[in-house]
Symmetry: C2
Subunit: 199 residues, 2 copies
DNA sequence: GTCTATATCATGATAGAC
DNA sequence: GTCTATCATGATATAGAC
């Protein structure tokens, strides 16, 4: 899903090409400030093609959203499989988010920051979606194992991931120029202190 | 700034009346899904009046934004004046936000959740605005006093307020029906653990 | 399946009477 | 200062040739 405004789409990659361009424009100007014509023009594709593939602007957003959520979901699954203890899992989640922030800030902005409810009316809120539920499951399991203090799951999730998400907002808003991975340990160590079980 | 769709505006209160209606509509349907006509109709005011007072839709958003930021700013100032230690100040900030969430969720949503950059192009990002800077100043002072661990200010802010802001997102998205003030201590106690100086 | 040209409509904004 | 009526624009979406 690389963004290349110059190149015309190769056959078969058209769908992803359009989605990449759309993501780029959405994250630059916002969903509502981006017209189908903008996308069509930037993607060097006819408007007919867009409507053929996606049925319209909302269809593009839907497809994009689904792709990105699936991608995040796969990432969280991978972390859960690769790491066994809660501390390592949480750290890996934060690290992954921070890395994604640097390699694909537009994707992160679209998943974490955009207000999808305003243009995807029937979609459930993002924090009810699979990857975010899986992130909470990590914490639930941590409680069962006694690694994480017994507490309300939403509170635990807020404390565990809230700081990292806030750092992402800061970075997206330009409050720091330091690539986020440099913060991984500081942020996660601090968050961990707030949820760990100190028995 | 109460919202009353039935009543026509009384003279002199017109400005606030319009802003209240606008806030209501913005938070229900989103800024871009709300037309000037929608506001005009709901506020029982002529379109001419709107353009006279605010100069257009963006003018409404600007005024609303300024009002709400000023309100938050006053609140944070008040907390800083009323409380002396960092722990109490942070707790009061979280408590205030949580209370505001229940008494005026639309205001909270507009300040904390909306993506202003998409419609207020020249406005700096919200987390650079006065109240959020003041919130970080509380932490900076806390470090100087040795109450808060020496750490990057953005990291400290993320850890201190990120969890509370995340809870607000959860509540706005309907993940919990419990009024947030019930969570105040749990959330702040946990956040405090992550930043306090345990010398 | 892709393209161009066009229909349809809602929006932000203004004009000008009162 | 407020109102109604109207404009101009640009958006989504479709039609129909290739």
């Amino acid at each position: 899903m690389s963004v290349n405004l110059a190149a015309a789409p190769k056959r078969g990659e058209l769908r992803d090409h359009i989605l990449g361009i759309a993501l780029h424009l959405f994250s630059q100007k916002g969903y509502f400030n981006t017209s189908v014509h903008d996308i069509q023009r930037a993607a060097r594709v006819s408007i007919g093609s867009i409507y053929n593939h996606f049925g319209g602007k909302e269809g593009i957003a839907k497809a994009l959203y689904a792709d990105l959520v699936a991608r995040m979901s796969g990432f969280v699954e991978g972390v859960t499989a690769a790491q066994t203890d809660t501390y390592s899992r949480g750290r890996a989640v934060v690290q992954g988010l921070f890395e994604m922030m640097e390699t694909d800030p537009e994707a992160i902005a679209f998943v974490v920051n955009a207000r999808h409810r305003e243009f995807l009316a029937d979609e459930p809120p993002i924090c009810s979606s699979e990857p975010f539920v899986a992130m909470r499951d990590i914490l639930r399991q941590g409680m069962d194992r006694g690694e994480v203090r017994r507490m309300d799951l939403l509170v635990a999730a807020s404390c565990a991931y809230g700081p990292a998400l806030r750092m992402i907002s800061f970075r997206l808003d330009g409050l720091t120029d330091t690539p986020l991975p440099a913060y991984t340990d500081r942020v996660w160590e601090a968050a961990w202190r707030s949820i760990r079980n100190e028995a």
